[in-house]
């Protein structure tokens, strides 16, 4: 049951996590976060996928039993929006950070410590 989609999704998550853990530039970290969220969305959709079935939109000739699971699609729509909001928020905070610290190197943004 482990299909290629699951591997792809998990790979994306791990790539995103790698970027967050290793990259020094703040924007790269945020991109990594975004990739991670994309991977999670992909995982969600893959869980609802049934091979051979079509998109879950009621129209001529498509009955509910011929569509993939619609719930993950709804969840992913919500999750994408949440991801957008988070990324937008993060980028605006990054702008303030660059204004105040003059750098985007994560190791130098360390005034609050201890």
């Amino acid at each position: 049951m482990i299909s290629a989609y699951y591997f792809g999704a998990i790979a994306l998550i791990l790539i995103g996590l790698y970027a967050v853990l290793v990259k020094k530039n703040l924007l790269k970290i945020l991109v990594g976060l975004s990739i991670m969220e994309t991977g999670v969305n992909l995982l969600l959709i893959s869980i609802g996928y049934v091979s051979g079935k079509s998109a879950p939109i009621l129209s001529e000739g498509i009955t509910p039993s011929q569509a993939v699971d619609p719930i993950p699609q709804a969840l992913v729509l919500t999750a994408i929006v949440i991801g957008v909001a988070t990324t937008a928020m993060a980028l605006s905070v990054a702008i303030i950070l660059y204004e105040k610290y003059g750098t985007l190197n994560i190791e130098e943004i360390r005034r609050l410590r201890g």
Binding site: L17, K24, I29, E107, R110
Partner: protein
């Protein structure tokens, strides 16, 4: 009996009211009333002690209770009497409103400890007592108060863990039920089965309780908080602090006997003629006597001298408790009573001295017997009592302890106890001469005698010292009722142990006759010759400023030099170093863990994920 909660709560309520209403005259009246009510109620309840007096209340799922039996009545009376006199003394010496609140709160706490019926009430009252007495010290010296609080809290939490373990295993918290559970456990072990508590668990519970009660009683090596805490607070309060609160620790040890005696004897056996667990207590008590006594002799500050003396005297009580026979426990409780009485008196005298002269070190005192005759008379009574000279109460209790220890064939403990008596005399001589006799410094010419509240308070304690000394049987008969058999026989004038006898009345009569004869001789013709005052203590050493030893200054410096090696071992420094290293470790850990770098934090998340993965697979 609905009076029991009133006895416990009224001091706290009075203290709170006294703190809220800041008017000078009113708060004193409320405060004194608050400490008088428990005393009055306890006296009123005395005739009905034969029936069980109980009060229970359900609070948030716990069944809290108060109980008045002979044992608890005796201890509560100590608290009430000495507490009342201390509060009276505070009328003169208290400066802030909150001192009334916290002094009365600690009185509530200690009454609650004595009258508790179950472990939770005991713990609550213990914590209230600790917190209130800590707040009394906080203003004067932060370091001393924190040291006191930390050691006390460590002890209290040790007790909490022990209570938690008992609750987890037996499911009950009231004293009778816990006692029954332990006795049944002991029976089971004696029959060869395995009980509810294994040997390690019993040792753990015993150790935790020893820690908790030892800290409060000031047992070596947990005594380090006492000298600083006793001296760095309002000295009238120290009368209650040293006289009563330390007895809470003593009561705790008696509780250990009541709850766990059978179990501890079955697990650990006997050592010579005392139970092993008791011998540990007694031995530590003996060390306390020696350490406290020697350190008391080396002090230059009156408050510190009496603080160390307090520690030393508690050692006596612990020795008596540890030996474990009915006689020795009665002797220990007797000494608890007499210590509360004479130590309370001593600290009130110190409070008077500081209040009238503002000085605290021996080198600033001298010749005050002339200026403060009443205080001197009280001091004389207290000195005789502590030294153990008949016909005062100190003699009766010390004699009982000596007899009990010797009767059980315990030479080491006996030696320690005798040594304590000798060293007691040594530091008392210092206090007697340096403060009351000899040359008077010129700035003390205008000192007046004790103010009225302090005088009344001292008078009460002094009178009790004399009364219980001349008629020691009064106390002994009360104590016999605890054990329900005549452990100490005799009538109210006489203590009869079967192998020794002390008749207070007879001795008093003989002493009075002797004093009369001496007075007649003095007035009839003894010649008085005036001598100039010179330094008397040189023994061939050249006189230098550093080595100018008088009774008022560095009197025991040679003793300090002899003991120099032993004085280097300081538990005080040890605890201080332990705490310092904990703080330093905390700072390093904090700077390492919360280092401000987001990526490090993200790595923590990754590590937890790895751990979760490892657990799943």
């Amino acid at each position: 009996m609905n009076e029991l909660p009133i006895i416990v709560i009224s001091p706290l309520v009075a203290g709170f009211l006294a703190w809220l209403l800041r008017i000078r005259g009113v708060r004193e009246i409320i405060g004194v009333a608050g400490s008088l009510i428990p005393l009055a109620l306890l006296i009123k309840l005395y005739p009905s002690l034969g029936e069980r007096l109980e009060f229970t209340i359900n609070v948030a799922g716990f069944k809290l209770g108060l109980m008045l039996s002979h044992l608890t009545w005796v201890f509560s009376m100590i608290a009430a009497v000495v507490g009342f006199t201390a509060i009276l003394g505070m009328i003169s010496t208290a400066r802030d409103n909150w001192e009334w609140l916290f002094a009365l709160m600690s009185l509530t706490g200690v009454l609650g400890v004595f009258m508790a019926y179950d472990l939770i009430t005991f713990f609550i009252a213990w914590e209230i007592m600790t917190f209130a007495s800590f707040m009394m010290v906080l203003k004067y010296n932060r370091h001393a108060s924190l040291k006191y609080f930390i050691l006390s809290i460590v002890g209290a939490y040790a007790m909490l863990i022990a209570i938690g373990l008992i609750y987890a295993k037996t499911g009950t918290l009231t004293f009778p039920e816990v006692s029954v559970a332990f006795t049944q456990d002991a029976m089971r072990r004696m029959m060869g089965g395995s009980g509810l508590f294994t040997k390690t668990e019993t040792m753990l519970i015993y150790g935790l309780f020893l820690l908790a009660f030892g800290v409060k009683a000031g047992m070596f090596p947990l005594h380090v908080w006492a000298p600083d805490a006793y001296s760095e607070t309002n000295q009238s309060y120290t009368a209650m602090f040293s006289g009563v609160l330390s007895k809470a620790g003593v009561y705790g040890f008696i509780l250990l006997y009541i709850l766990m005696y059978g179990k501890l004897v079955v697990e650990f056996g006997h050592f010579r003629s005392a139970p092993t667990f008791g011998y540990i207590i007694a031995f530590l008590g003996g060390l306390t006597i020696i350490v406290g006594g020697i350190l008391a002799a080396l002090q230059e500050d009156i408050r510190k001298l009496f603080a160390y003396s307090s520690i030393s005297q508690i050692g006596y009580i612990l020795v008596g408790l540890g030996v474990g026979t009915a006689l020795s426990i009665e002797a220990a409780i007797y000494h608890a009573i007499s210590h509360a009485l004479f130590k309370g008196l001593f600290f009130l005298i110190v409070a008077t001295l500081i209040y009238r002269t503002g000085k605290t070190e021996f080198k600033d005192f001298g010749g005050l017997a002339e200026k403060m005759p009443y205080t001197f008379a009280m001091a004389f009574i207290a000195i005789l009592s502590l030294a153990g000279i008949p016909p005062l109460v100190g003699f009766a209790s010390k004699w009982l302890i000596f007899e009990a220890v010797i009767h059980e064939n315990l030479p080491i403990l006996g030696g320690m106890v005798f040594f304590g008596s000798a060293i007691g005399f040594v530091y008392l001589i210092r206090f007697t001469y340096a403060v009351w006799f000899g040359q008077r410094p010129s700035d003390l010419e205008g000192t007046k005698d004790a103010p009225l509240p302090l005088a009344i308070a001292m008078g009460i304690l002094g009178a009790l010292n004399v009364v219980f000394g001349v008629a020691p049987g009064i106390v002994a008969q009360e104590l016999n009722k605890i054990f329900d058999k005549p452990v100490i026989a005799g009538n109210i004038w006489e203590l009869d142990l079967g192998f020794g006898r002390y008749n207070g009345l007879l001795l008093t009569i003989w002493m009075v006759i002797g004093v009369l004869i001496a007075a007649i001789v003095y007035f009839l013709g003894a010649n008085v010759r005036r001598v100039p005052v010179t330094d008397t203590y040189q023994s061939g050493n050249p006189i230098t400023m550093e080595y100018n030893l008088t009774i008022r200054r560095n009197f025991f410096l040679p003793l300090r030099e002899v003991m120099a090696f032993w004085l280097k071992i300081s538990f005080d420094r040890l605890y201080h170093d332990i705490w310092k290293s904990i703080e330093d470790f905390a700072e390093t850990a904090r700077n390492y863990v919360y280092n401000g770098n987001v990526q490090a934090y993200a790595w923590y998340l990754a590590i937890i994920l790895v751990i979760l993965a490892a657990m799943g697979v």
